[in-house]
């Protein structure tokens, strides 16, 4: 293989991407104080620290406030249609496995209209990072109840208060077969958000991160209980999981050592209602990836596709005129 030679030559090309190289010309149009900015920053930090070439990075989104993120990244982007971020990302990954695929989606986008795609994307376990920006409300359309809105939340569609218990994206994801990486973060602890994102990126498979995200406009003070009382944030640490910096440890003293391989405990943690678990709930690097299983011996070139199709058609080829003559 010439890999060594081209690798040597490629190393001559110095790339040193800085944060600004990942910032597009469009300034973020999120409200001041919006949690999405923390997520964008964490993503740009990850790209810089992993030195991901912008031309090898794709951000895919659906519809919603969160889904504006691809516009603000200087990388390839696909602002898709409502709920369909994941099928688009899967298509990109299977055709271009060399690209780093990131999906940003919101609670409405992913858990409501896109719920079916979400389940199957977990099952396919294709190598990508999915960030669920969960502000528990439809913000772009000015406050309607989303599947994760808490019971009793008064919105434009539920003026008398939401009537149903919210859906828990963590327990749902953990319950789907082939799940390989589930984590939860909060946008107001950006250091852990960055660390978790980095682990998600380095995990081979479908890395699902639910990020609790503040919406200062429509859900102001909604997360105050958790933000102001560090004891209600439970940090999940492990030698294979998050490792805390002293300044974080000093503030957040409620910590638990959790082995990311421990599924029963992960389910119990995901179901906590009064505390917010932050960290990697579950990680299993041995789950096969659909994109790798599907990768054939040969690339699917147009010529190969044509030959295979022709071979199939030839199996049932009929020549009526000749066969009739032969019968006679």
């Amino acid at each position: 293989m010439t890999a060594t030679m081209s690798q040597c030559l490629a190393q001559m090309v110095q790339t040193d991407y800085a944060m600004k190289d990942y910032q597009s010309e469009i300034a973020p149009r999120w409200c001041t104080g919006c949690g999405d900015t923390a997520i964008l920053t964490a993503m740009q930090r990850l790209c810089r620290d992993e030195q991901l070439p912008p031309e090898k990075t794709v951000c895919v989104s659906g519809i919603g406030c969160a889904s504006r993120l691809p516009h603000y990244m200087n990388a390839y982007g696909f602002h898709g249609i409502h709920g369909r971020a994941l099928p688009i990302a899967e298509g990109i990954k299977i055709r271009r496995p060399d690209l780093n695929v990131f999906v940003t989606t919101g609670d409405g986008d992913n858990c409501s209209i896109g719920a079916a795609h979400w389940l199957h994307a977990v099952r396919y376990n294709m190598n990508m990072v999915v960030m669920l920006h969960d502000n528990q409300v439809y913000g772009l359309t000015k406050k309607q109840a989303s599947p994760t809105s808490p019971k009793g939340l008064s919105t434009n569609t539920t003026p008398g208060g939401a009537m149903l218990n919210p859906l828990n994206p963590l327990t749902v994801t953990l319950g789907i077969s082939n799940v390989s990486f589930v984590a939860q973060c909060v946008d107001w602890i950006p250091d852990l958000l960055y660390e978790t994102l980095q682990m998600a990126y380095r995990h081979k498979g479908f890395s699902f991160i639910r990020i609790l995200q503040r919406c200062p406009n429509f859900m102001d003070h909604h997360f105050d209980n958790w933000m102001q009382d560090p004891a209600r944030t439970r940090l999940l640490t492990h030698s294979n999981g998050l490792r805390l910096k002293p300044e974080i440890s000093r503030v957040y003293k409620n910590q638990e050592t959790h082995d990311p391989r421990d599924m029963p405990r992960a389910l119990a943690l995901a179901a906590l209602s009064d505390e917010v678990p932050v960290g990697v709930l579950y990680r299993n690097p041995d789950v096969p990836c659909y994109d790798e299983l599907r990768a054939g011996e040969r690339p699917s070139t147009p010529a190969l596709v044509e030959t295979v199709l022709n071979e199939e058609f030839d199996k049932v080829g009929i020549w009526p005129a000749e066969s009739e003559q032969a019968e006679r």
Binding site: T2, S6, T32, V251, T307
Partner: protein, 729 residues
Amino acid sequence: MKHGKIVANPAAHAPVTKTLRPALFARYADLANLRHDYPLVLVDFGEGRPLVRPLSRIIDGTLRLVAPKDLTGEAMRQQLLQLEADIRRRVLAGEEARLSDFWRDCTAEMIRAKGEGPFGGLDNNFEIARKRLPYDGLVIGCNGETPAKVLRHAWSAKQAAKARRFRRVVDSLILRLSDILKSDHMKSDEAHGAEALEAAMGATADGSIDFGALSAVLERARPEDRLPVDRVARIRDALQVLKGQPFYGPGRASDTTPCKRDPYNYTFDTCSAALDAYRDRLPDVLAFTKALTVAELEVENKYRPELHDQILARFDESDMSAEQINMLPSALVCLRDGETVSAETARSFEALACGLPITVLVQVDDLLGPTSPEPPVNSFGAGTARLAAMAMGLNNAFVCQTSSAHINRMIDGLERGMRYEGPALFSIYSGATPNVPDVEPYILSAAATEARAFPSFTYDPSAGSDWASRFSLAGNPEAEKDWPVHEVVYENAKGERQTETLAFTFADFAICDSRYTRFCHLSDACEDALDRVSAAEWLTCVPDTDPTRSPCVRVIDPENQLFSVVVDTKIAEAASRCIDAWRRLQELAGINNSHSRRALAEERLKREATSTQQAAAPAAKAVEADAKPVEKPAVPEPAAPVESATSDGAAWIETPRCTTCNECVQTNDKLFAYNENMQAYVADPDGGTYRQLVEAAESCQVSIIHPGLPRNPDEPDLPELIERAAAFN
């Protein structure tokens, strides 16, 4: 006479006039009825399949699947074994066909012979078994062509695997380069023209769309950033070379357009031809390697003309790495003792020594050579048996020596040799020699290995750095002994059953050769004659101690009468040369290694000299010292830097907790700024008022701004602000 039954000759004084065979051959007189490694199936290559498999093993495997172990399976077992015997008989008669063809013909014959029609019981049984046959492929017998056939088969399998890997890499590069050109083309005038747009609609366009107007609309949104012209040219050139490569055929549905010229042939009859071809093809190889490198850089967008142009312009054969050469097919050269001119032997060593991926088969048909030393004519001569051992001295070549009969046992070595990325020599004795009439090549080649005349061994330079990991004698019968030992059962003059243990020596092998028959003399028959010892014994000790005794071997005549023949010094000397060479090989494999024996003897002497007590005391101390853990110097853990409110009352931010929400920097972007991680810090405490600090602290969503104490005592409303700030300090 019953097959294999031997009768001791009562009195034999006759000279050697008839064909004599070693007594141990008696059991193997009728190969057609013996289940052995032949017929051998050259299995059609594919992932996870063996290279070759004896027919008997395939039948056994199928029987295990289809015939129950009890009596119900008995009929099917007998039918399949009968079928196997039929195929074996046909192959021994010189027929050659695929297993499925043999199966069809032989079963049809058996069904006819039994008087059954199609879909009868017998046909049904054969059909059940046929469906469970794991492999198909060419069925070959053991003859003069066997080594070349097996090696060509193994080589083709390796080339097919290489071609698959090659096409995967090249096709995917072609696809990705074409994608780059295609996406550039989509921005061109042509792609935006009315014609292209109409063509894109397909045949259904009915005139309802004005493609000219559509083109004008699209024109406004057309991206401007076209690829640089030189990059497009570079990609086109690389694509052309990759698509037109002449090393492998296009394969099934390859994206490479079929080569204008035929793909190169890589099988040669002489090493000179192989080396010449290598030189002739070098420009193509270089062009391809360059194109591949350019392509790999281009798809990663890492090609920089100012850096790489010069390097690639200077690129020549001396820059080629082994990996690059190994991506392309390796050459196969089949040489045959007696057919290939002698000068080619020297060339083969040259070819092996230069390190190119070249696989050389030296097929040996005549092992013993002429009876008197003479310059070889078109033959590797007496050196043939040592050719492989000599090649080990090259050190970089994979070497495998074996005989036709042992090919299946040595198949692992054969596969490793094929996988080896570098030169490889296979020296295989076919057993098909005109000087030994009436002995099947299978028996003779097995005998050559048994007699240590042509031992099986492999030398694999990639297996490790020492002899122990590189060299292996596995596959030889009783490799730890001088000669393998067998029992022979015969009937003596009184009709009693006798058992004798015989070693199979080089002398036994040599007497088969018609040229050496005159060096044997029938013994006086008295089995206990004092001056007769077995050749094995004689070779071990006698020549030095008792020159009057002479070696003899046990032989049989075509009627299975048992004799002893005394062998002449000619054979005895050749036998001692043979055993000497075998012992050297044993040493390489770690059997009776002279260095270690010498070291062992010296050590023993030393031990005897020193008293055990004296030796034990310091040893115990040494053990104790070893067991004691090395104490680590205590290094104090560096104290974690802890940020905290500064005592001097300066304002500060818990930067790692900042969520980049823009609140503070929108309040005052001189006072607050983002660091390289886009997280806020107090950039200039004098850049704003204390009021701004306090307000920023209050509006901070995550409450990480600590305003400290006011720096300007003249600021208005200070007492109130200090009170408000207290909550955040």
